[in-house]
Symmetry: C2
Subunit: 255 residues, 2 copies
Amino acid sequence: MRFTSESSADGIVTRDFTLDGIPGVLWSPAAGPSRAPLVLMGHGGGNHKHSPAMSGRAALLVRGGGFHVAVIDAPGHGDRPRTAHDEQEIAALYAARAAGRPEGPIVVRYNAHLAEQAVPEHRAVLDALQRLPEIGADGPVGYFGLNMGTAIGVPLVAADPRFTAAVFGLHWPDALAGHARRITVPVQFAMQWDDEHIPREAALALFDAFASKDKTLHANAGRHKELPRFEANDAVPFFVRHLGSAIPGASPALT
Amino acid sequence: MRFTSESSADGIVTRDFTLDGIPGVLWSPAAGPSRAPLVLMGHGGGNHKHSPAMSGRAALLVRGGGFHVAVIDAPGHGDRPRTAHDEQEIAALYAARAAGRPEGPIVVRYNAHLAEQAVPEHRAVLDALQRLPEIGADGPVGYFGLNMGTAIGVPLVAADPRFTAAVFGLHWPDALAGHARRITVPVQFAMQWDDEHIPREAALALFDAFASKDKTLHANAGRHKELPRFEANDAVPFFVRHLGSAIPGASPALT
């Protein structure tokens, strides 16, 4: 893992890195204990590591929990090249959208394909991040990803015992329910009650599939893209409960 | 409204009051602006105004939002006398429980009966509280009640336009869905995913019935009585979003 840039603002240190050609970002508290928990994030489809959703959630997690927060570009996203297969699937998605046909079957299939490559990539990045002294190999690790970040995150968390807790949401059960049934760590799951792409019963079925004894569903009124911004805030107390706060003197009443 | 006692601890002033024979409690911040929003709470069945759930939630709301928080004993509860009808219904509930018969039909029927009396009582208490200069007649008002507090609160919020936002949960749709369809203010609704008394579909149907454009369901794994304590914390940012925080300099990131 090689750091390629570093900047600091408002108490947060932002470092870009690459690992075997995969570009990522690591946000860290500028001050705090010498070691703190890590939250690995996954971005949504068509998005990338430096999108406002990623830096916004990272800022909430660094400030609210004192965590390190990292994200990498998914295959075919951000600074990574698109394959001919990526172009084909994206064209198929746009064609379905233009024709008013369901997007679900294409998103489910394409995201499952990307997850096959992305899961080992995330595990390798986690290996490298855990070699940093400020993170360490034995600390708690969270995962936070919605949309495509859930399509990658559910098989990732099912496969890797290092994850302590995860926030998922906004995906179909088709390719994920089998993995979800192997997840036993605490899960918070977001769905949209009036999602025009993911049927209500499908979202509830994916939440139901998690084997976790400690799991929470947050369902909000509204369509697929109308997930309220406060759901990003709601991830903070969840991770503080399960990873522990790295902010000295943080109020236990908020956990 | 007559205050009968006053004490102060840890930044919270606690005042007992009575209004036309109905006993209640008002918790207020010991310091803060001269006027702040009010959250009216409703306690659960078999419980009362001074139960740990009520004082615990009040402390979270006073400390987290700077709100005034009030609750009264429901008819037949706490310091209020039980009628012969109360005794009958409670005996019926215990008999059903002992025999392993469903509690739902009795709870739904008895709580609906209590709500008929409790709704005008809560409106009269709200009239009196709004005459206090530190609350005022034109400020935002929240409602927070689970279990029987929802059976009373849903018809109350449906009937009284002074309520700005409400947290409900853990009840059946039978007597409440009709009222819920008239509620348009923001609602947060808690259910237990593995509730042995309230079928999953029944809880989802009650959430679905609210006409509010802004509504959030929090469903947690676990049985009826296993609602996680963090749901009380989760009510704080909800009310801060909708009533406004009365704590100077409170972080907007938490809203």
